[in-house]
């Protein structure tokens, strides 16, 4: 599903973000990318969706060489990969419904199909109907992250990337969100979670790719 072959990435100012990264994630897997802040976790996720370009190496996502994609092809790669952020990145001036439907509108879904899909995905992530018309800042942190996950999954991507999805949540909500990600994985989506939380990795007993100073150390 996702393959890295000797990938290197250096940011301007000679800051080495990743070096000699090679790994493979199979279809339907649940994988943690672990490591402290600055280890290169976010850069690795960004490389998968071509938000960054590697200096060297090759990256295959669903059989496509991401490093050689033309700019015009990037949107089509991203349609198959959902992305969840630590700070949710929800639009606070829009309702929960609008935050999710925005994705479907951007991807050209038919208008009559959108409400059905939004309600379906809200049920999957365990959000009640009452939140649909609310704006995100009125919701709890856990609910906001559920909305963000719903937004990432509404167009049924086969891969879900989550960058510190529980970083802003208390332990109770962290478990809720992780359980939800497990459920999503169980339903067939490949899930990659970047986290610095070693307890989380220990608790969920999934394969982990530990990063330290831009290198895989496990």
């Amino acid at each position: 599903m996702i393959q890295f072959f000797q990938v290197y990435k250096t940011y301007p100012g000679n800051i080495e973000a990743l070096a000699d990264i090679s790994f493979k994630i199979e279809k339907g897997e649940f994988v943690f990318i672990t490591g402290p802040s600055g280890a290169g976790k976010t850069t690795l996720l960004k490389l998968i969706i071509r938000a960054e370009r590697p200096d060297r190496g090759e990256i295959l996502v669903k059989g496509r060489n991401v490093t050689r994609l033309k700019n015009s092809q990037i949107p089509f790669l991203r349609r198959g990969v959902g992305f969840v952020f630590q700070d949710f990145k929800l639009l606070n001036h829009k309702t929960v419904y609008e935050n999710i439907s925005l994705v479907l509108e951007a991807l050209g879904y038919k208008k009559r199909e959108i409400p059905k899909r939004v309600r379906q995905i809200l049920r999957v992530v365990g959000l009640e109907e009452r939140v649909v018309k609310q704006t995100p800042f009125k919701l709890s942190g856990g609910e906001q992250q559920r909305v963000a996950i719903a937004r990432a999954l509404v167009n049924t991507p086969s891969i879900l990337l989550a960058d510190e999805p529980t970083g802003n949540l208390d332990p109770g909500l962290t478990v809720e969100i992780m359980d939800l990600l497990e459920k999503v994985n169980y339903l067939g989506t490949t899930v990659v979670v970047a986290t610095h939380d070693t307890n989380l990795v220990a608790r969920y007993k999934k394969r982990a790719l530990p990063l330290y100073k831009g290198r895989l150390v496990g």
């Binding site: 015009s72 949107p75 198959g80 992305f83 990145k89 925005l102 951007a106 991807l107």
Partner: protein, 283 residues
């Protein structure tokens, strides 16, 4: 979002003001051009004959002149006719005119010109040639005024185009800055749309549309305001125009020019949008 709305409104106001100035210049030059054309139609050359020139020679001169290129019609005005005309024009002054003798009025030839010969240069050239006729005492024509008015029209037209060029720059920069601000306000939305796989065309189209629409509304608003003011002005001034210039009517910008002004508005607004998106490509 309210701030963005206000910014859009302010920038549309600026665009409308700029277009108002430009369209006013166009309107002025069009009506002045019509005025000049009417004036040109009335232009004639009057050749005053020396005192000793008899009627026979004057009529012979008339026939000779009528054969010349560019001369449409020549009318002989005898001393008597000149006096009668003078008295008719000043009929209200009754007593003062009594005792006037026809000898003090010069006989003249009124020369009307062909349409192609009513330009200031040609009138001046013809007048110069007529002055050389030995029977000619004096040659008069409204050429000096015509030349001055033509120069004024020329300046007005150039002024409109220079203003038009400045206007395009204003519209470009105002639209580009407004859209840049909107882009900045919507950067999160744009980032999300790009992350979920929206195409660049889908992301950018609303901004191009906003630019074009801003230009269109700015230009359209200015034309509406100009039309309203023109209507008020022409209502007040029309009675005076008909007194002094007979058939002369004020006219608003013709449809093709209105379409051009609106087109310039849309195009420059659109360009502003494109420029702002290019500069803010990183957002």
């Amino acid at each position: 979002m309210k701030e963005t709305g206000l910014t859009h409104l302010l920038s549309m106001g600026t665009i409308a003001t700029s277009f108002f100035l430009f369209s006013s210049f166009l309107l002025l030059s069009i009506n002045f051009g019509t005025f000049l054309e009417t004036w040109e139609k009335k232009v004639q050359i009057i050749l005053y004959l020396k005192d000793g020139v008899g009627e026979k020679r004057a009529l012979q001169l008339k026939r000779e002149l009528q054969k010349r290129e560019g001369i449409k019609e020549v009318r002989y005005i005898s001393k008597r006719k000149a006096m009668e005309s003078f008295k008719r024009d000043l009929a209200g002054y009754g007593g003062v005119l009594e005792g006037l003798k026809e000898e003090i009025f010069p006989a003249s030839l009124e020369i009307k010109l062909g349409e192609a010969f009513r330009t200031p240069e040609r009138i001046r050239a013809l007048a110069a040639r007529l002055k050389k006729i030995k029977e000619a005492e004096e040659v008069q024509y409204g050429g000096i005024w015509l030349e001055r008015l033509s120069l004024f029209l020329y300046i007005l037209r150039w002024g409109a185009w220079i203003l038009g060029a400045i206007l395009v720059i204003i519209v470009l920069s105002v639209t580009a800055n407004t859209i840049r601000l909107t882009l900045y306000n919507k950067r999160e939305e744009i980032e999300i749309m790009r992350l979920v796989g929206a195409t660049e065309a889908f992301v950018k189209f609303p901004f191009y549309l906003a630019g074009g629409l801003q230009g269109l509304l700015g230009a359209g608003g200015s034309l509406l305001l100009l039309f309203f003011l023109f209507h008020l002005f022409s209502l007040k001034i029309s009675p005076y125009l008909s007194i002094y210039f007979g058939q002369l009517r004020l006219s608003f910008l013709p449809p093709d020019l209105i379409a051009e002004v609106l087109g310039v508005g849309v195009a420059s607004g659109l360009m502003g949008g494109i420029l702002s998106l290019r500069k803010a490509a990183g957002i």
